[in-house]
Amino acid sequence: MSRLNETNTKSAREIIAKYPRPKSALIPLLHLSQEQNGYITREAMQHLGELVGVTSAEVYGTATFYEMFKFEPIGKYLINICRTMSCALMGANELMHHAEKKLGVNAGGTTPDGMFTLAHAECQAACTEAPTLQVNYRYRLRVTPTDLDNLIDNLRDGKLKDEFPPHGVLSKVRQIIPADRAVGAKDPEDVNESPAWLDGKAAL
């Protein structure tokens, strides 16, 4: 029962149509599937394979390359603490030790209530605001141990539901191309002449 549901299958078909070749949609579809189920299941990979026309082994091959796809259930909130240089220089290790104590799990572990998964992360692109962490890929900057305690308490009490959607939900805004504005995918099989605007004259 973890194939894409009807609504998501419809969105999947729309996503596939944007690309010249269906397999290009695989990563967006894996995200869609992870959003629906919280992680990537075997059945989901089979379904995605059917949708884009590759074997489920190929889907598995692609999915396992990328850090963000999980293959078993994890906590509702994934807390990634950055440990690369800039954060390490500003106390990321100490922050991780504090988090491990606070949550009672080691890095990589999930709390028994299924609320939190704690993990080390590599550079999160917020280096000047070190040490940083992400909860479900949304930032908290210049995090002190007290900030971390408050964050975890508030998440547990459900106070930050709007800021941090559950793990799997990535962007809350989707790109929608209106049918009357869409140019359509440019497949090398169909297109073999130069674009109309390259006629040596101004377009406007």
Binding site: E129, Q175, P188, W197
Partner: protein, 474 residues
């Protein structure tokens, strides 16, 4: 801008955390001061889509010529001029694609994320200008997976721009039509390499392709000519087209015109992302200047700094007066890379700092090339042993030997007066397809070359036991 006692004081904004504004020419960060900088309304009120209009009212080849003569350097790492790159596509092969590299993940770097979060329309306008000028039929905007807010802001901006007629069929009523497709990654550093990005966009494991012979401009996405440009590079185009080549090249130097966004992190008083004037600003200005970082925290002494993202060989205070100019930084033994300076003060444990970077690259190796897959892991393990105090003096030699398997020959490093070292110029030779492997070695080599005594203080002397001494009769 606040002026106190005739001195410029930098300004920060709650809605753009990390960014520090200054009293300098702004090209890409001009809208960051507005809390609603990411909306179409604000964009249109601040010269938005004027550059596109200016471009479309001229033939495409003239626009391409402008970008070429303005020498808009690539801001992703290699610093290759965008206009020249666009011209490398083979004649009469269609369709051609634009792939926007928003997979920013080089340690220390973040500017593309800010540009996507704070001014997505500027990026979109840049993409449109590039597609028009270089005859690119479809654009794929690839954003790093871990940047949820950037994805939301860009998605919302694309939706607004489509509805307002700036993207899609017959843009602004002209014969120019192009779709921009938003695509997210899913967490893999190596995908920032342009051929790996294309593999990822084709739905595969993000492993780099062998080049030469085929660079993406000749043979990229689906085997078609493909231009891969960095977010900041494209974000420069609207301003360039709106204000003209002369205004653009009037800022900075002839070989490095315009501005650059630089993230300065680590042990400085005011870490932040600054838009600096290219080519003339020096590392000393940036680290010690009052309008920039204002010096080292607690008045400490500077020990070393990484000048261009985690992959770059390190500099020491001897190199502070170098400007942000590739033709000077290269011969001095490093690179400008992706615009990230990481500063280490006198309290820094150098071997441990090097380990954080080597760990990063070993972890992010895609596994395609053996020297990187095995060598990176070896480097990390040996270095960790040394940092943990379990290493011997033989380990230090071993680190250099493993590194030589990834980068044969002399590895670039800075000059050092105290140690009597002459600079070895960038770049290096490499046995891998992409730069992940050499990058794992760069911090190890820099740290060992410039701060060897710190390693020696940590390792034990290896005791050599003669075979006859352990009871083996010969």
């Amino acid at each position: 801008m606040v002026r106190r006692q005739g001195r410029t004081v930098s300004k920060t904004y709650v809605h753009a955390p990390g960014f520090v504004a200054g009293d300098r020419p702004k090209i890409v960060t001009s809208r960051f001061e507005f809390a609603d900088s990411y909306t179409l309304e604000r964009y249109l009120a601040t010269d938005g889509y004027k550059g596109l209009r200016a471009a479309l009212s001229r033939p495409a080849n003239e626009v391409h010529e402008d970008v070429k003569s303005a020498t808009v350097l690539g801001r992703g790492g290699a610093g290759f001029p965008a206009g020249v790159k666009w011209g490398l596509t083979p004649q009469q092969v269609w369709p051609r694609y634009l792939v926007v590299n928003g997979d920013e993940s080089e340690p220390g770097t973040y500017k593309d994320r800010l540009l996507m979060e704070c001014d997505p329309h500027q990026l979109i306008e840049g993409c449109l200008i590039a597609c028009y000028a270089a005859g690119l039929s479809q654009c794929f905007l690839y954003i790093r997976g871990e940047m949820a807010v950037a994805q939301e802001r860009v998605a919302a901006a694309l939706n607004e721009a489509y509805a307002a007629g700036y993207i899609g069929k017959n843009i602004l009523g002209s014969k120019f039509s192009v779709d921009i497709i938003l695509h997210w990654g899913a967490g893999a550093y190596v995908v920032g390499e342009e051929t790996a990005l294309i593999e990822s966009l084709e739905g595969n494991r993000g492993m780099p392709r062998l080049k030469p012979p085929f660079f993406p401009a000749a043979n990229g996405l689906y085997g078609q000519p493909t231009i891969v440009n960095n977010v900041e590079t494209l974000a420069n185009l609207p301003w360039l087209l709106n204000h003209g080549v002369a205004a653009y090249t009037a800022i900075g130097t002839k070989t490095s015109p315009g501005t650059r966004m630089i993230a300065v992190s680590g042990h400085v008083k005011r870490p932040g992302v600054y838009e600096i004037i290219n080519g003339t600003t020096t590392f000393r200005d940036l680290i010690y200047g009052q309008e920039f970082c204002g010096g080292i925290r607690n008045g400490n002494a500077l020990k070393a700094f990484v000048p261009g993202g985690g992959s770059a060989p390190w500099f020491t205070p001897d190199q502070l007066d170098l400007p942000f100019e590739a033709s000077q930084v290269g011969p001095a033994g490093s690179m400008l890379g992706s615009g990230a300076v990481m500063v280490m003060d006198e309290t820094t444990d150098i071997p441990a700092a090097a380990l954080t970077l080597t760990h990063f690259y070993a972890h992010e190796s895609c596994g395609k090339c053996t020297p990187c897959r095995e060598g990176g892991t070896w480097l990390e393990r040996i270095l960790r042993r040394v940092v943990d105090g379990d290493g011997t003096d033989a380990d230090l030699q071993q680190l250099l030997e493993v590194g030589a398997m990834i980068c044969p020959g002399a590895f670039p490093h800075a000059a050092n007066e105290k140690l009597g070292l002459q600079a070895v110029a960038f770049p290096y030779k490499m046995t891998t397809i992409c730069f992940v492997g050499p990058s794992a070695f760069a911090p190890v080599h820099s740290a060992l070359t410039l701060f060897r005594s710190e390693f020696e203080a940590r390792v034990k002397k290896r005791v050599t036991i003669p075979v006859t001494a352990v009871g083996v009769s010969v």
